[in-house]
Amino acid sequence: MPYRGDVSWKPRRRGGRPVGTAIVVLTLATGIACATRSGATRGEPPAAACPSAEAASPDQTDGARPFDLAANADFAGYERAVRNFAARTSPGQAEDYCVVGFASGTDWRLAWVLGGGHIAVWSGGDAEVGQPRDLDLSTDVVASESDLHGSTYLVTREWVDRLTTGCRCFGHPVSTKPNAGKRKD
């Protein structure tokens, strides 16, 4: 077992000084919809073209590819998981969510839920959406990698954009509108 020093180096001093972090407030902080795959609607910038599955990873370096949530036993319950998340974070509000799964070989398999001003990770199974990561798009997005400073959770605007595109192209929409799925006769 590698041991990197005497336990006495675990000091007890307190009193850190805040260091400024560039925070970017995204215009999409009120929600990210992926209900359509056809691109922009009137008055909005054109949506980015869909990448191939091989190039869709928001990280771009991990070789992750989208997978079909509905076809995976651990993730097939995504709709209920998203609705529970919405009820917890945006109670009583109508929101359009998008959920997309990515997997990197056998290393990891996760889903991301986008909407309501959040990007939240879902580990599948009975886990709650957002444990361990629930990003607030109004506070947790920085301009570039040089603004991360080792952060365990802040993300770059470019990463958000790639994930948003990936969800639009490979994800599933989940609407929490009260009348979603009901016919209007």
Partner: protein, 169 residues
């Protein structure tokens, strides 16, 4: 006997809460206690290794473990510790409730998970198997924590990163 967390005002108390916030709970797909313990081992190394060079991670020179945890933008929800995110408090409380509910069939798994976090937070040695110093983790797929970090391993949905070894001054 009911399990309780270490005093929030101690290093072990702060670290236990970070571990419980950041390591997926037993309800997550693919969860095993062994993987959870490995993730906790690496997170413990990250936290303590950062005290060797705190200024690189948003804390001031000479910062202790709690200062490292409170450093702005570093650990979600812990910036104002011992006050921390309501959603994390709720999640940890739910885990504690399950643990201490003897009739809940999930109780044993949650007890093992929480005890593992407490044990790791109280460990007297840093157990860092990386080629250098583990100093970062990110949710898998979220990219690097910045320049100079090298990915080491992904465990339970968290990718751990190391930097070249730094001597403690």
């Amino acid at each position: 006997m009911a399990i309780s967390l270490p005093d929030a005002a101690t290093d072990a108390g702060a670290e236990t809460r970070v571990l419980l916030a950041e390591v997926p709970m037993p309800s997550a797909a693919g969860y095993t206690l062994a993987l959870a313990k490995t993730a906790m081992q690496y997170m413990d190394a990250v936290l303590w290794n950062r005290t060797k060079k705190p200024t690189a991670y948003g804390a001031k020179r000479g910062a202790g473990l709690v200062d490292i945890i409170k450093a702005p933008g570093q650990f979600a929800g812990f910036q104002n510790y011992p006050s921390y995110s309501a959603s994390i408090i709720k999640r940890i409380q739910e885990a504690m409730d399950i643990t201490n509910a003897a009739k809940d069939k999930r109780s044993a798994a949650y007890a093992d998970h929480i005890n593992a976090a407490i044990e790791r937070a109280n460990a007297s040695e840093v157990d860092d198997p990386s080629p250098g110093d583990l100093t970062g983790w990110r949710t898998a797929g979220h990219g690097s924590p910045g320049s100079g970090f090298t990915a080491y391993q992904t465990v339970l949905g968290n990718t751990f990163y190391w930097v070249p070894y730094v001597e403690r001054k």
